[in-house]
């Protein structure tokens, strides 16, 4: 059963609850209220309160508290409780895993995210390889860091409906989202 779930994650019960193909309202390409191109309040280009480039408190280059290289509590490489190599349940193929999914603009599955703590979200690619993490910058913003703790410039903004949209360093929506 465990092998079946890990081999076909898209088929397990958890995934069904998050699958925009089954619930169109989970997709920003169907549901305008969670689409940043249609709702200015969730778009950092038009709402600077959620824009790390415009709001210094959300910028890890300006605010040490949210920079995992300066604040090691938020660094999975320094804090084992955040590290999926030590905490196996953070890994998407673990039978006990509970997390969210990364989707692309065609609503295709592109990766996974695990909530390591209130402030740290781990991200895994479609091959379930750990390839980075997000650190909370504010109630609505999480900045993306590489495994080595370097800020990539990308960041998540909440969609106000339990999910997130991913933006690049130019604050443009990448069309990737998390549900």
């Amino acid at each position: 059963m465990g092998i079946c779930l890990t081999a076909f994650p898209q088929k397990n019960e958890l995934f069904q609850k998050h699958n925009p193909a089954l619930n169109l309202y989970l997709s920003p390409f169907f549901n305008r209220s969670i689409n940043p191109d249609s709702n200015s309040s969730i778009n950092p280009a038009t709402n600077w309160n959620i824009n790390p480039r415009q709001t210094m408190e959300c910028n890890p280059s300006k605010n040490e508290k949210i920079n995992p290289l300066m604040n090691l509590v938020y660094n999975p490489q320094q804090n084992e409780v955040l590290n999926p190599l030590y905490i196996k349940t953070l890994w998407p193929d673990d039978v006990s895993w509970d997390g969210q999914y990364i989707f692309g603009e065609h609503n295709e599955l592109q990766g996974y995210v695990s909530r390591a703590s209130q402030e740290v979200i781990l991200c895994f690619n479609s091959q379930m390889e750990w390839d980075g993490y997000f650190v909370k910058a504010s109630e609505k913003v999480f900045n993306h860091f590489s495994i080595t703790g370097l800020w990539t410039g990308q960041f998540l903004c909440t969609d106000n409906s339990g999910g997130y949209n991913l933006f690049n360093k130019d604050c443009k929506w990448t069309h990737q989202y998390i549900k």
Binding site: L24, F29, F30, S38, N39, S40, S41, T46, N47, N49
Partner: protein, 189 residues
């Protein structure tokens, strides 16, 4: 379950985005209420009503009335008075107060029309003295500052007075004039 899924798939194929286009409320739409259109209602048309035409009523023309000209009256100049400047006063800035942005789900404001009553922009009231102007792509283009006598001077995003201004039409909204006082049919309802 399969039937519901099929219906959802059909909707997804034919309506990729369930979006509700920015519909103009009837009380703001000159195409619904002809009384809102200067083309139909002479009393709000500056070409028919001299009282609201700055070319012939210099009291409402900044070029001729120093009181409403920001170059001669500092109290209405946002370069000098920070409270009138969205770039200096975040309370007026739609980038920090998103409810002022026309794409915000809770937005309420006014609508800008051309001479054919086609929608060309949106107006948000940031304060009693400052209104913000957006185009139909929701791009913030500038702001108006109340100058008195029912007039509003228009500034671009860089705080430069363009010389353009709005004048209250006496009844329902205002008309937008070029620097030389010429009206090209642009009106706000």
């Amino acid at each position: 379950m399969i039937k519901i899924l099929s219906i959802k798939i059909l909707i997804a194929l034919f309506f990729p985005v369930i979006c509700f286009s920015q519909t103009i409320p009837q009380k703001h739409n000159p195409k619904v209420d002809p009384n809102l259109s200067p083309a139909n209602n002479k009393s709000i048309n500056p070409e028919k009503n001299a009282a609201i035409n700055p070319k012939v009523n210099w009291n409402i023309n900044p070029e001729h009335n120093q009181v409403i000209n920001p170059d001669t009256n500092a109290s209405i100049n946002p370069i000098i008075v920070n409270d009138l400047n969205p770039n200096k006063n975040r309370m007026l800035n739609p980038m920090y107060h998103n409810e002022l942005h026309p794409q915000n789900p809770n937005w309420e404001g006014l609508y800008v029309f051309d001479k054919d009553d086609e929608l060309i922009g949106y107006i948000s009231s940031a304060s009693q003295n400052v209104t913000l102007y957006f185009d139909t792509s929701y791009k913030w283009l500038g702001y108006f500052v109340k100058s008195g006598k029912g007039t509003y001077n228009f500034y671009n995003i860089n705080d430069q007075w363009t010389g353009q201004f709005g004048c209250y039409d006496g009844i329902t909204g205002f008309n937008f004039f070029e620097k030389d006082g010429e009206w090209k049919g642009v009106h706000v309802k």
